[in-house]
Assembly symmetry: C2
């Protein structure tokens, strides 16, 4: 009982998982903004011109499900929610940097 249940493609191509987790119209930009500190829903809407609630919400949910961002309710003045890089998210920074360093 040691067969894995990954789709065959990801089994033979580990990079594909990462690519999937980071790709999409808004996820790379959200990830990048999160490098500078916690990000918030409405903040992202303002910082990402052309974006919209639905897409940002979906991107945040997927980044959270991929364990790249962590969602926290901040018990402060105007009670709000923050998304911060998880440990895995931090580990991904080097991958991200190697992409940024690659200027064609």
């Amino acid at each position: 009982m040691t067969t894995n249940n990954l789709p065959q493609d990801e089994a033979s191509c580990p990079a594909e998982g990462i690519l999937k987790q980071l790709s999409g119209k808004w996820k790379p930009q959200i990830f990048r903004l999160a490098l500078d500190g916690p990000v918030r829903f409405n903040g992202l809407l303002r910082q990402l011109p052309g974006s919209n609630k639905q897409s940002v919400a979906t991107a945040l949910k997927e980044l959270e499900e991929a364990d790249i961002l962590v969602k926290t309710v901040v018990q402060e003045k105007p009670l709000h929610i923050e998304y911060t890089l998880s440990e895995k998210g931090h580990a991904m920074v080097s991958v991200f940097r190697s992409m940024e360093g690659f200027l064609s």
Copy 2:
């Protein structure tokens, strides 16, 4: 006259370009197979179960346009076409490896 003409998102997020060039349903796997040597159209169709002519053709064209693969007509016995990693493609290997090394 020094404004650039990149979409705002790519300007502020260089990683996004790479992500775009490598993402898609078949491109990561094709890239990975190309690491082991030249790949061919019909060979890929056989090596990628579930793929189809159209998708493989499109992926190859985009990888070629992104200057990641180079298309060559090989003047041999059964005249055929090979796709090999370009110089840029080789430079991308380190990025790709850093993704592969990242096992969540």
